[in-house]
């Protein structure tokens, strides 16, 4: 993998012809993804289609078998689990990567303030709820002002009410920090709510690339929202009437 100070064509993420082969199977078979600063892309696809593999390649946690991958040096990931180090207090987790945590305490506190957890700075991670821990993970991801923020189903383990609050928080923070964002998710509504563009992965390639042309803040009840939703569900192989039998019955 090469790193570059000058992104070409204005892209901060430029991945072309990405292939990733596990054994005999090409999980990714020629995927192109380009992102400019401030772009928010959601990546949908049935389980096992390589969404997370693509995210891990862009994060630098995995290496593509083939293709070119250029990403910002400063990258952050929020995983499905918070992945906080249990032996470090909350604020020290936020500045986990800093050469000296103590010198960066102010930054940690500011980042925790942004996610509404300034009062929990000195708590131990075990004392946090799932939603709080995930907000700490978000603060940790944003504190270093990453050029690329990778979100790997970060809301999947949260309860429905916490998830709604997290959607708003992420939208706010992304609007303020303007990194390029790639969100991997199973949740079609979440993808439409948050992203500017939605990609659907199928059979190792990008099957659908659709721009979300709805003004923010978006309402789930808007006709265009519902239209996009059934289009995407259809592409994901979910028959809408089967997905909502309760609605059909009423």
């Amino acid at each position: 993998m090469s790193s570059s100070d000058v992104p070409y064509d204005g892209y901060v993420v430029d991945a072309r012809g990405v292939r990733r082969v596990f054994g005999e199977r090409a999980v990714l078979d020629g995927v192109d993804v380009q992102l400019r600063q401030g772009d928010f892309i959601a990546l949908l696809g049935p389980s096992g289609t390589g969404k997370t593999t693509l995210l891990r390649i862009l994060a630098g946690l995995d290496t593509a078998t083939d293709g070119t991958v250029v990403v910002p040096e400063a990258r952050s990931v929020v995983f499905q689990e918070p992945r906080l180090v249990p032996s470090r207090r909350v604020w020290r987790n936020v500045v986990l990567g800093a050469s000296s945590a103590r010198k960066h305490r102010a930054e940690a506190l500011a980042a925790l303030g942004e996610v509404g957890l300034a009062t929990h700075a000195d708590a131990w991670p075990v004392t946090l709820s799932g939603g709080e821990a995930q907000r700490v993970a978000l603060a940790r991801a944003l504190v270093a002002e990453p050029g690329l923020l990778l979100l790997d189903e970060p809301f999947a383990a949260l309860d429905a009410l916490t998830r709604i609050k997290m959607h708003e928080l992420v939208a706010q923070l992304v609007a303020r920090h303007r990194p390029a964002v790639l969100l991997v998710t199973h949740d079609v509504d979440e993808a439409i709510l948050l992203s500017d563009r939605i990609l659907v992965l199928a059979n190792g390639t990008i099957d659908v690339d659709v721009t979300v042309d709805i003004d923010k803040p978006r309402q789930r009840s808007e006709p265009r929202f519902l239209e996009l939703r059934s289009f995407l569900l259809d592409k994901l192989g979910v028959v809408p009437s089967a997905a909502a039998p309760a609605l059909a019955a009423r």
């Binding site: 630098g60 946690l61 990931v77 180090v85 249990p86 032996s87 470090r88 207090r89 986990l96 075990v126």
Partner: protein, 296 residues
């Protein structure tokens, strides 16, 4: 209240001809009864504490009664009061004061050597592939040897003074520390390590910030286990040619047929064991504050 409202409409839906029994399953009343409401919880806690205290006291009392009544011969099992007299005797003639530091020094020297070795090799094998390849196989083989079996060898190699005793204790303690350190380090969640790497940690910093602190609870388990084992090894080591220490008190008492002194010596070993456990618990509480809130 809600239940009452629900029963009504449900009963109404009973189709004609269908026995109502089919729609009303056997019910059980789980509402709190007056005796549930009376707080028995506090009482149960106190009963627990009282019994924990009373049962050992009752056993000692029974022991004393059995001795006083002549049910057991004092040559087989001397009475508690005789054992207390034996303690007084050991302290009066200074035997105990001389023996304690000698035995403790042996145990701690052996333990310090064993634990240091176990910790260093465990960290090396846990953190570096090369260390694992070099040390894990031989240590797993050696671990299968019961350390008690090597005592005659140690006497043959190192003679009868301090060296074989300390070596035996070190040999007995190196394995629990090694195994728990190695597995503790290896067992650190790969996802946590990955998160550390994403945020720029690698090498020494990754080890000190993520891997070692997370492995610490298991390393402590190994240390605690090793402390117990060191005591076992101490007792064994002092049984052979001990000129001083608690073991020699036991040997001399055995030659002189003084079961009261033997029991006193055994109690000293037991007190060591309890103290070790208490100290380790305190050390763990202090060293692992982030676990306290879940452990309490």
């Amino acid at each position: 209240m809600t239940t009452v409202e629900l029963v009504g409409p449900r009963a109404d839906t009973t189709a004609p001809g269908v026995p109502s029994q089919a729609l009303s399953p056997a019910l059980e009343d789980l509402s709190p009864t007056p005796s549930d409401r009376r707080s028995l919880a506090g009482l149960a806690v106190w009963r627990g504490r009282l019994l924990r205290f009373l049962v050992p006291v009752a056993l000692i009392a029974l022991w004393q009664v059995a001795s006083s009544a002549g049910w057991v011969s004092p040559r087989t099992l001397p009475s508690p009061s005789t054992v207390i007299d034996a303690f007084a005797e050991l302290i009066r003639n200074g035997d105990l004061q001389r023996a304690l530091p000698v035995s403790l020094r042996r145990a701690f020297t052996g333990l310090a050597i064993g634990a240091t070795l176990g910790l260093s090799i465990g960290l090396w094998a846990g953190l570096w592939k090369l260390g694992e390849e070099l040390f894990d196989a031989p240590l797993q083989i050696l671990r299968a040897v019961p350390f008690i079996a090597i005592q005659p060898l140690l006497v043959a190699w190192f003679g009868i003074y301090e060296q074989p005793k300390i070596t035996l204790i070190a040999a007995a303690t190196v394995f629990p520390v090694y195994l728990n350190t190695y597995h503790g380090v290896r067992g650190v969640d790969a996802k946590l390590i990955e998160a550390g790497q994403i945020f720029g940690l690698s090498g020494r910093r990754l080890s000190f910030r993520v891997i070692l602190p997370t492995a610490l609870p298991q390393i402590f388990t190994g240390l605690r286990y090793a402390l117990g084992t060191s005591l076992l090894a101490l007792v064994l080591a002092e049984q052979v040619n001990a000129r001083d220490g608690i073991g020699s008190i036991l040997l001399v008492a055995n030659l002189n047929q003084r079961p009261d002194i033997i029991i006193a010596g055994v109690i000293v070993y037991a007190v060591f064991g309890v103290l070790i456990d208490v100290v380790m618990r305190i050390v763990e509480k202090v060293a692992l504050p982030w676990r306290v809130s879940v452990q309490l």
